[in-house]
Amino acid sequence: MCDSSFVPIFIMEPSRILLLLATLAFIGGVIHAVIALRAGRWQESRWHLAPMALGFAFQSAFLYLRGEQHGRCPLTNFFEVLIFIGWCIVLLYFLIGAAYRLSLLGVFTAPLVATLQILALLSPFDKAIAARSKVNPWLEMHASVALIAYAAFALACITGVMYLIQDYLLKHRRIHALFHQLPPIHDLAKAIRRMVLLGVILLSLALAFSFKINVPITNSKMIFSWCVLTLYVVILLLMWLRALSARQTAWLAVLGYLLPLASLWIVTK
């Protein structure tokens, strides 16, 4: 397995080539969308889903190959965790964002996923892990469900960015191409609440699974995971009680994602 990412493509291992192709698909989708938006030619079309679908197919193939290699869920190092989160974000985008995906959510999702994958490709953490003879299903469930929860928080963050942009455009009467393509602001506010709720449910489930794991988990991992859950429960409560305005909750969803991102480093060590 390669220690460095700066390896000519012809001697890259197949899974990394798949990852590179996935990243190129997402970047290509974003570049095309940005050019179309700037030229005022963006039209809602199912064709804009094509780069996302292509990237998702390559990501899935990458995870499949890695899963075969490890004989378990491919979450063995920081590199794979980043890819898995990216995969979950795209999966949730297809599943949950159906109402919004034709209205630019993909354009906002793709840069985040591409960034995660570029970070992964450049990172030196893709170390070989020996295949386990015995897989702990609770541990596998805990890790994968927790990462899907992180993906839901990521989508809440992306939707929060969209909300803040649309709010700015409406308040400052900047009615141009981007305004026409962004979803209604009330729908964005509801979408943020749904994503945060989904993330909280999934992360609670993941932490519940951790009680079933007989393998000892380090304190720092548990503390960070519980901190992330607490943060999002607080955000959810604030949203529920309408203690903050929709704009403030959008900011919380955006800035709040810094904690799960930072915690990834700890929980995957």
Partner: protein
């Protein structure tokens, strides 16, 4: 040979257009009668509130003047015009590529009163389908209309000719939809019963707004308007109580001071549980304190802001017009309509201004 004889909102006043409109049930008969005229092989009759056009295929290649005169005579005889009316009637008479170009422009919404509107596409399609069903079309017109629809779609998809709103009423609707999504749960409050606020409210209701409350200093006028709009009249002293229950406020009183203030709106927003509030201030002098726009989840637009957005929308469409004409010329060449006639130059300044509150 393709021929087109027609009149529209630019050539003919509404009184005469009304007189010359074909009733829907009479269109198939008219198309049959035209096809039965000497030399005519195919025909499609398009009759809308803004235009009456006859598209035909004539058997003789060099008989455009003769064919167009026969169509003009048919029109005047069919509608029994007096010699004075016949004299006053101005029609455009187009043949060959000019007729094809005109149809492409009509289908693309470039010849419409509201530039880029899409309703005409459906109207042309309906007229063609009717003619096809009644057997008055043949190879030439089938080819022409199919290509026109393809060009119409391309114009719509590849340019910004439909982008933005071009009237105050449609801007209000567009903004409301960008705030609330759909309008079916939205309640509208009119403070003052001016004409423009009535038109804005009508636009919102036509797009599905749930109900309208009308409050006016003259209560009888409020009742009258409420009856017309199937809404509810409120006494002027009562409108403040309704603010919590509405999503869109349209204010157009003649008060010399601010009627809607941050002190009134701010406490209401806490009770609204995250529902945004869209306020349209149509009054001059303004009814709504501009500081209201600083309150979270409140979006305030005055008449200048709405007008400016409508102007931008019109400019955007006019900019797109050049690209649309290029597409049409390209398609005329591609589809083999000969190029001997050069296109009429696009003169944006001659386009009729959009009526202020006309819904596109």
């Amino acid at each position: 040979m393709l021929l087109c004889l027609g009149l529209n909102h630019r050539t003919t006043p509404i009184e005469l257009r009304e007189r010359l409109a074909f009733a829907e049930s009479k269109v198939p008969v008219a198309a049959q009668e035209i096809r039965a005229l000497p030399g005519f092989e195919e025909s499609v009759v398009l009759s809308t509130c803004n235009r009456v056009e006859i598209y035909t295929a004539h058997g003789m290649e060099n008989a455009s003047q003769q064919g167009l005169s026969a169509l003009f005579d048919y029109l005047t005889v069919h509608f029994q015009l007096t010699p004075e009316q016949r004299e006053a009637l101005i029609c455009y008479r187009l043949s060959h590529a000019d007729a094809a170009r005109h149809l492409f422009r009509v289908v693309g919404g470039l010849d419409s009163m509201v530039l880029g509107e899409t309703e005409i596409f459906g109207q042309v399609k309906a007229a063609y389908t009717l003619a096809l069903k009644n057997g008055t079309t043949g190879r030439a017109l089938n080819k022409l209309f199919q290509r026109a629809f393809s060009v119409g779609k391309q114009v719509r998809n590849d340019t910004t000719i439909q982008r933005g709103s071009t009237s105050v009423g449609s801007v209000a609707v567009e903004l409301a939809e960008k705030i609330f999504g759909h309008l079916r749960d939205c309640h509208v409050l009119l403070i003052g019963a001016g004409e423009m606020s009535r038109v804005c409210a009508q636009s919102l209701l036509s797009r599905g707004a749930r109900s309208v409350f009308i409050s006016n200093r003259n209560y009888d006028r409020a009742v009258e308007l409420a009856k017309e709009m199937k809404g509810e009249a409120l006494r002027f002293e009562e409108w403040e109580k309704a603010v919590n229950d509405v999503d869109i406020i349209i204010s157009s009183t003649s008060a010399p001071h601010f009627v809607v203030t941050p002190e009134l709106i701010q406490p209401m927003m806490h009770k609204r549980r995250g529902r945004p509030l869209f306020i349209i201030d149509i009054a001059v002098p303004r009814d709504v304190d501009p500081r209201v726009n600083e309150i979270e989840e409140v979006y305030l637009y005055d008449v200048d802001a709405l007008q400016s957005i409508a102007d931008d929308g019109r400019r955007e469409r006019q900019r797109a017009l050049v690209k649309c004409e290029e597409i049409i010329e390209e398609q005329l060449r591609k589809f083999g309509y000969h190029e001997e006639s050069s296109p009429a130059p696009v003169d944006i300044s001659t386009l009729p201004p959009t009526p202020l509150n006309l819904e596109p």
